[in-house]
């Protein structure tokens, strides 16, 4: 084999190596720099509602579950730690032999606002992603952002997104608002929690049995801690849904 032939071979190999390096570089560039998109979510241009539902449903479910286990707050500011979880005090007194002061009288509204605040980031991302999907398919898109509102209603939680989406290709479609409805009876659990809190504030104690008599589908437990704090756990029998909170009222310490 002559020198010229060897030199050609080396040259070819070098070119291939360079091409390979360039390809790898481009691949890495694609991998890290391309905007993230969720191809796992099926996009149907005739049904943006489905897209929003798939994009946000799980987030709303997880948020509701977390907030329910923490006494109605995403980040409890005044809580009792039980099982490594912070549980908000919804009624509290730092004194002994005194009934507590309710810390959250508008509980349902508070929970709604907590959910709204927690999901807002994801809402923005999902609607932005929805817009991208349309634009990539050649639509003219006009998106007017609006308010996100959560309503905790009997047997369901409805989240409404007052975004107005107008998409135009050959014809114009307008979607005035979007909504996601979860099957969840948090409403009833909060009603019961409010009643328990009333008893704690006025009489210093509540009897879980009376609620189970009136609400056969609900289980209510009271867990008395050593410092006088009570953890109330309201569970739905047929689902894993649970709402729990802490209260400290009319505490008698030992020897007092």
């Amino acid at each position: 084999m002559d020198y010229h032939h060897i030199k050609n071979k080396r040259g070819q190999v070098t070119i291939f190596i360079i091409i390979a390096v360039v390809l790898i570089g481009v691949a890495l560039l694609f991998y890290f720099l391309l905007p993230k998109f969720q191809t796992r979510i099926v996009f149907d241009e005739d049904n943006p509602q489905d897209f929003i539902q798939m994009c946000l449903e799980e987030k709303i479910e997880d948020t509701v579950k977390t907030i329910s286990l923490q006494g109605g707050s995403m980040e409890p500011t005044h809580h009792f730690t039980y099982d490594d979880k912070p549980i908000e005090y919804l009624c509290f007194t730092n004194e002994n032999y005194k009934t507590c002061v309710i810390q959250q009288p508008l509980l349902r509204q508070h929970v709604e606002i907590e959910v709204e605040n927690e999901i807002q980031g994801d809402v923005d991302i999902c609607f932005s992603s929805l817009k991208d999907h349309y634009e990539r398919r050649g639509f003219d898109v006009k998106m007017d952002p609006g308010r996100t509102s959560v309503e905790i209603l009997p047997n369901r939680i409805t989240t409404r997104f007052n975004y107005v989406l107008t998409v135009t290709k050959s014809i114009t479609d307008r979607h005035d608002s979007f909504s996601i409805t979860l099957n969840n009876n948090l409403y009833e659990s909060i009603e019961i929690a409010n009643s328990i809190l009333e008893w704690e504030a006025i009489y210093g104690n509540a009897d879980p049995r009376s609620y189970m008599l009136f609400y056969p589908d609900i289980s209510v437990e009271k867990n008395l801690r050593d410092d006088g704090t009570k953890i109330y756990i309201i569970s739905e029998r047929d689902t894993e849904n649970k709402f729990q909170f802490a209260s400290r009222s009319l505490v008698t310490l030992p020897g007092y």
Partner: protein, 1137 residues
């Protein structure tokens, strides 16, 4: 010239001392008064608390007064109409922006918050008025509220039998039928047939009998449903095909309701007359909860047993639903030992629940049992233990009052400083009857618990108040000290000088009983200098009192025999402080020299907080009991017992031996294995056990089946925290995963871990391509999340199917295993011959669907969850997999499953029909070609369109005498899902985001109050139901206010009548009393006769009188003011003559 103040030396000293005293007293005063502030918010984010200034969040209000006297923390009621709540609340927390309205009155003084009888069509209960409207919403029922009824019995009696019937509505040439009351049907403009069921053939509705049953919200029974979805009569298998039973409601057409076995039909497969009072209610059949024999003959619902089976928790009795009882009888706590606590237990809906009354016996469980035999039932509750009020009581009526919180012990004529009294009648105490005339002292009947391991607790003020008259030799140092006592004894000896051996002395006086002697008895010195003829009865007696005070005295929990006293040596200078080291002791000391002819001694008994035995051998007795261990119970078992994980589901009482450096010994746990799985030990060549191999007994080679969750576990000889890894590691910290499917570091004695893995063939097929193919479809975040889930729940997939899991554990002393314990297993290397299992769908079975309009594509998306990678299809008919027409999109990669160990397929379901049940059948084919032989069915219910039947007020004028005017906006809906039950909203502009929800909604009737000024108004209404059907409407009306009183525009005489005409409809009265003139109340006036137009008013003409006339309109507008200003007109008929 200034005159110097000259003081002599004495005066100077007095002055200096005086200043010193003043300054000291100031400091004393200052130190004595703690400064607390009512903080609107504290630095710990607590609202309205009394705290020192350092804890106040000064960016909010605060003041140095009690919170009830501040404006911001004044307690009132926060009312929310939207949520239907009245809540006691401090003012600052009632936020109007969240819909809260603060009322300074107490909750029971507010009209909307008052309780009354709330009648719903399924029953009645006593609730607050504002809650009644909320109840009607969440039960989707029309309500009626009667405030005058406040007892449940009277309220329940209000529930009238409903006049239900078939309501036929004809729309668009369709004839639909619903079960409604007469009033509801009328509102829906339907044709009502009282007492008829829609399945009555005479009605020709097309609704037919069916085999479907269901539960009904608010009712206990199981009901039939007709083919149209209407609730029919109670499920009765024997009448399933009875035309009569399917034609009329009970009470009509000779149809009577059968109650079945009359015992609630618990688990009766053929009858659905459940009875909550007998312990049964309707529930969806579950073989695990109801048993095989309860499988309903028709439908899927059965009367579930709500009673609780015998168990240690129930005291080995069967307990009825609603029954409550105590863990120990109240009498037990009369002799409570440290660690004893009282639990309240109750049975509800088949479950036993318990509640600790109090950690330290400040509250105890009290139980009453009524009835006999099978009808016997217990009722229990926690009651307050008011032990504080017993100490120092010196009157029988306070000690043995009706609340029975105290008991008495006889003084046995022993000298005592405690308050005593004489019984006026017989009394029983601790099982002993004391006759009238006995001198006794008052003690708690149920001694309270103490935190005996901490500094001695402060004496409650309630106790101190009762002890003011006691002569105490020292200040009380603890609550136990209340039962300390002192006895002074006087001795007399005859001889002088030092006492030779054998010399006797005599006790004199009333207190000789302290040392067990009476007067004239002798005390002898023996050869060893110890005194004989003494006994310690008094001290034993004192110890009994001491232990009855609280957790005091010399008791040992595990050693019931007190051995604490040994009195000897009265007449030596040495103290004989005999003690068990466990609390109370008697101390006898001679205070005067031996050479005295008479000597005085004191016998002291000091009662101290109880202390447990040394060591911790008994600590573990607290764990694994019926109730979780508490710190109080744990500490009572030994000095070295420690309570850990207190604020968790698994509190433990442990003995930490600081010198224990041995790690936990790990062994495999048999109980963690499921059926058909076994362990086989693995040993090293030197016979040392290395671990176990897990084998599947149903396979020849012992390898485990693919995609079948299996579990294995470990048990330890001491508490440990365990981790595992798939590779060998150097030490505990290097291991990556927590053993036991938990992500927190709690300590336990055993753990179970669950895996689910593909077989070898699956892995080989999927992993032939580059690994990056597995991540092709996900975003970076999803991949990262997926990887973390993967690492938690599934080990790295091995191409050869061989797996080893290495485990280490760490003890409480941080000692961990050097050598790992190994679990080894293999996955099957063969074609998968089992069909896929469809685990479920992302739709709940029997979910409603919104009505599909004309031109609307009738399809929905669905997700099917399966246990292994497969291809799935569906059809509208139940047929074989190959015949099914529609395929789903299935993910095939092993990694793509959710953390419920399930794979999924998704796709679209088409061919949906309105107003009927849509059945879809699914079957799957595994990657090895094994298909389902049976279909999994998913039923989705098509609905009818929702409609609005009426909106009011519409095209009308609303008038009122006040401004703003209250305008009730009302809407009625029907059809859709659940016969028109919907949520409605309104908006003045109709723009998105401006709609507000009706105050009363989520039913077929919706209402809300608007407060409007005069003007013209229009509103957009929109309603939607649970299926997603929606309907809109508009309404317009005018609002007028009328704040002016009527004006008399004409006065005349007609025949013998005085007549006046007003400018509007009015009611007029008059008075003829000159003295009062117009100054009379409208109600006291004489009414003038009105014509039908209500504008012409008349009375008899009398020229001798003056008529002072007042007129008022429907809005109560009438003239006010002094003089003639209080009359509409003053008429003097004589002026007309």
């Amino acid at each position: 010239m200034k005159k110097a103040i000259n003081l002599n030396f004495k005066q100077s000293i007095i002055l200096i001392l005086g200043i010193f005293v003043i300054i000291s007293s100031l400091n004393f005063i200052k130190a004595d008064q703690a400064e607390f502030y009512c903080a609107e918010k504290t630095i710990n984010n607590e609202w309205c608390q009394m705290v020192p200034i350092e804890e106040v969040d000064t960016s909010y209000s605060y003041s140095r007064t009690s919170c009830e006297f501040t404006e911001y923390c004044s307690i009132g009621t926060c009312i929310s109409v939207e949520s239907g709540s009245c809540q006691t609340s401090p003012k600052t927390l009632c936020n109007p922006e969240q819909g809260g309205y603060f009322n300074s009155s107490e909750i029971n003084q507010i009209e909307d918050c008052k309780k009354g009888c709330c009648i719903l069509s399924n029953g009645a209960r006593i609730v607050r008025k504002i809650q009644c409207t909320a109840l009607s919403r969440h039960l989707n029922l029309v309500y009626n509220f009667i405030p005058s009824i406040n007892t449940e019995a009277e309220c329940s009696a209000q529930v009238a039998s409903s006049n239900l019937g078939a309501c036929i509505i004809e729309t668009n040439s369709r004839r639909t039928c619903y079960h409604k009351t007469g009033g509801e049907c009328q509102s829906s403009q339907g044709e009502f047939h009282e007492g008829f069921l829609c399945s009555n053939p005479q009605l020709g509705t097309g609704c037919l009998m069916s085999n479907r049953t269901t539960c009904v919200s608010g009712k206990n029974e199981v009901y039939f449903m007709d083919s149209c979805g209407n609730i029919a009569n109670v499920y009765d298998f024997s009448r399933r095909a009875s035309t009569l039973y399917w034609s009329y409601f009970p009470g009509y057409g000779n149809v009577e309701l059968s109650t079945g076995d009359n015992l609630g039909n618990i688990r009766n497969p053929r009858h659905g007359y459940c009875d909550y009072t007998k312990g049964s209610t309707c529930a969806r059949y579950d073989v695990l909860k109801d048993g095989l024999q309860a499988k309903p003959a028709l439908g899927n619902y059965v009367c579930r047993n709500l009673n609780c089976r015998k168990s240690p928790l129930t005291g080995n009795l069967e307990r009825k639903h609603g029954e409550s009882w105590c863990s120990k009888p109240l009498e037990y706590f009369e002799n409570a030992k440290p660690g004893d606590v009282s639990y309240l237990l109750y049975c509800y809906n088949g479950e036993v629940k318990y509640e600790l009354c109090d950690h330290y016996r400040n509250s105890l469980c009290y139980e009453e049992r009524t009835g006999t035999g099978a009808n016997a039932i217990s009722s229990a509750g926690c009651i307050l233990n008011k032990w504080q009020e017993c100490f120092g009581q010196d009157e029988e009526r306070f000690c043995l009052g009706s609340d029975k919180k105290c008991s008495v012990v006889p003084t046995n004529e022993y000298p005592t400083n405690a308050n005593t009294f004489i019984l006026t009648e017989d009394a029983t105490s601790k099982g002993i009857t004391l006759s009238a005339g006995t001198e006794v002292q008052c003690i708690p009947k149920y001694p309270p618990g103490l935190k005996f391991w901490e500094a001695e607790p402060i004496i409650p003020s309630a106790v101190l108040d009762n002890l003011k008259n006691l002569e105490l030799n020292s200040e009380l140092s603890s609550i136990c000290d209340i039962s300390s006592d002192v006895c002074k004894v006087q001795y007399y000896r005859k001889s002088s000088g030092w006492l030779p051996w054998g010399t006797s002395v005599r006790c004199e006086g009333n207190n000789c009983l302290c040392i067990g002697l009476k007067d004239e008895d002798r005390i002898y010195n023996n050869d060893r200098g110890k005194q004989e003829n003494l006994n310690n009865d008094w001290v034993i007696y004192q110890n009994d009192i001491c232990t009855l005070t609280a957790d005091c005295g010399g008791y040992s929990n595990t050693n019931p025999n007190p051995n604490f006293l040994d009195i000897s040596g009265i007449f030596h200078f040495l103290e004989f402080a005999a003690s068990s080291g466990r609390g109370g002791w008697g101390k006898v000391m001679a205070r005067e020299g031996w050479w005295a002819r008479r000597a005085h001694g004191t016998v002291d008994f000091t009662c101290k907080p109880w202390q447990p035995i040394l060591g911790g051998e008994d600590c573990s007795k607290c764990n694994g009991q019926l109730f979780p261990c508490t710190e109080y119970q744990c500490r009572s078992l030994g000095k070295a017992c420690q309570f850990i994980q207190g604020d968790s589901d698994n509190p433990l009482c442990i003995y930490i031996d600081d010198e224990d450096v041995i790690p936990p010994i790990i062994n495999e746990r048999e109980e963690s294995l499921i059926e058909d799985y076994v362990y086989k030990e693995i040993h090293s060549p030197t016979s040392r056990k290395l671990g176990v191999e897990i084998e599947y007994t149903q396979s020849e080679d012992g390898c485990l089946p693919a995609f079948e969750p299996f579990s294995f576990g470990i048990e330890l000889d001491k508490l440990g925290y365990c981790k595992f890894d798939y590779e060998r590691t150097e030490d505990f910290d290097e291991m990556e995963f927590t053993f036991g499917n938990e992500d927190r570091n709690t300590f336990a004695l055993n753990y179970t871990q669950t895996f689910s893995l593909p077989g070898v063939k699956h892995v080989q097929e999927e992993y032939e391509s580059e690994e990056t193919d597995a991540y092709e479809y996900g975003s970076l975040e999803e991949i990262e999340e997926f990887e973390s889930i993967m690492e938690l729940i599934r080990p790295s997939l091995h191409l050869n199917g061989e797996y080893e899991v290495y485990v280490r554990c760490k003890s409480l002393n941080n000692a961990y295993n050097i050598e790992e314990f190994m679990f080894k297993f293999c996955m099957e290397d063969q074609d998968d011959i089992t069909p896929p299992i469809i685990r479920g769908f992302d739709w709940q079975n029997e979910s409603p669907l919104a009505f599909f309009g004309e031109g609307e594509t009738r399809k929905i998306n669905v997700k099917v969850y399966i246990n292994k990678p497969s291809q799935c299809k569906w059809s509208l008919e139940d047929k074989t997999y190959e015949s099914m027409e529609n395929s789903l999109n299935c993910q095939g990669e092993d990694e793509i499953f959710n953390n419920h160990l399930a794979y999924f397929c998704d796709g679209e379901l088409t061919g949906l029909e309105n107003n009927q049940e849509n059945d879809f059948y699914f079957r799957c084919n595994s990657s090895f070609g094994v298909m389902n032989s049976e279909s999994k069915r998913l039923t989705l219910i098509g609905t009818t369109p929702l409609d609005i039947t009426s909106i009011s007020p519409n095209v009308t004028t609303v008038k009122s005498g006040t401004s703003p005017v209250t305008v009730p906006l009302e809407v009625r809906t029907y059809a859709g899902y659940q016969n028109g039950v919907a949520t409605c909203q309104y908006s003045s502009s109709g723009n998105p985001g401006t709609y507000s929800t009706f105050s009363n909604t989520n039913s077929q009737q919706h209402s809300t109050n608007l407060y409007l000024e005069e003007g013209s108004y229009g509103y957009h209404i929109r309603c939607y139901d649970n299926a997603g059907n929606s309907k809109t409407g508009v309404v317009s009306f005018n609002v007028e206010t009328d704040t002016s009183p009527p004006i008399v525009i004409r006065v005349y005489r007609e025949a013998n009548n005085l007549k006046i005409i007003t400018n509007e409809e009015a009611t007029c009265v008059y008075s003829n009393v000159i003295n009062t003139g117009c100054m009379y109340n409208f109600e006291d006036g004489q009414t003038m006769t009105r014509t039908s137009s209500n504008k012409i008013h008349s009375t008899s003409w009398d020229y001798r009188k003056i008529f002072y006339i007042k007129c008022k309109d429907e809005f109560e507008n009438q003239p006010y003011g002094a003089g003639s200003g209080g009359c509409s007109i003053i008429i003097k008929p004589f002026e007309f003559e």
